[in-house]
Amino acid sequence: MKRKPINKMKMIFPTYSENERFSRSAVSSFISQLDPLLDEISDIKTAVSEGVTNAIVHAYPDSIGEVTIEVKIYTDRTVYIKIKDKGCGIEDVKKAMEPLFTSSPDEERAGLGFAVMQSFMDKVTVRSRPAKGTAVTLIKTLREKEQ
């Protein structure tokens, strides 16, 4: 996306699970300036929560690392969210994105994180390199407001 965003923000936080709620609330609060509908806010909050949880649970399995979230909003009401970590990365992105695939069944993880992101957002892109990290990009264009 080469267009210039009308507003943007960036936040960095450690992978404490307490930050799951904080991060989705912060993103939701930032995009509220576009006056989104309630179901659009729920969709985005849920997708962000899935992305952040993946970073917390999988990227740094035995340590605390950092997650960066960048949000940009555009005049056509497109919301661009990038959730990035510098953790262990994903060997096989295609497999990780398959519904019901989970590497931690004992923790009652349903393996539906990516399925939720794909269902609730317009576009989901995952870039990952083992030992380098993962970046998940979530894009959604909000509906036009009724005049």
Partner: protein
């Protein structure tokens, strides 16, 4: 954030989940519900979502896990009063095909509360 778990006659447990369900909170919700399942051996577990303020796929894991546990014991799980966006997450997982989703749980509960969870009694006592 706590879960109010009540035991009703005819081996029915009503678990009212309050607040956000995510990876951070799911563990304590699970522990509170499972403790009551182990203590009172219900045949029906009603998981009430009317006071849930947010849910991601951690909620699916939570319901799937309780469904598995109850089925192993010959029991049943009902999901009660999920908001529209929560229903959407359930539908995505297909769990709505395994458990009933009801908008009004009263028909499944015989009144007369047997026991209220101890934590709540203590909290009430502290308030006075």
């Amino acid at each position: 954030m706590f879960t109010d778990v009540r035991v009703y006659p005819e081996r029915t447990v009503f678990a009212s989940i309050k607040g956000d369900i995510d990876h951070h909170t799911a563990k304590s919700i699970r522990t509170q519900i499972d403790r009551t399942i182990n203590d009172s051996d219900p045949k029906l577990l009603i998981m009430d979502f009317s006071e849930v303020t947010f849910m991601d796929s951690s909620g699916i894991g939570l319901v799937m896990g309780r469904y598995k546990l109850m089925t192993e014991r010959g029991g049943e799980v009902i999901i009660s009063e999920p908001a529209g966006y929560i229903k959407k997450v359930f539908q995505l997982s297909g769990i709505d095909k395994l458990t009933k989703i009801v908008s009004d749980p009263t028909g499944y509960i015989k009144e007369d509360v047997d026991t209220i969870n101890e934590e709540e009694q203590t909290n009430e006592a502290k308030a006075y």
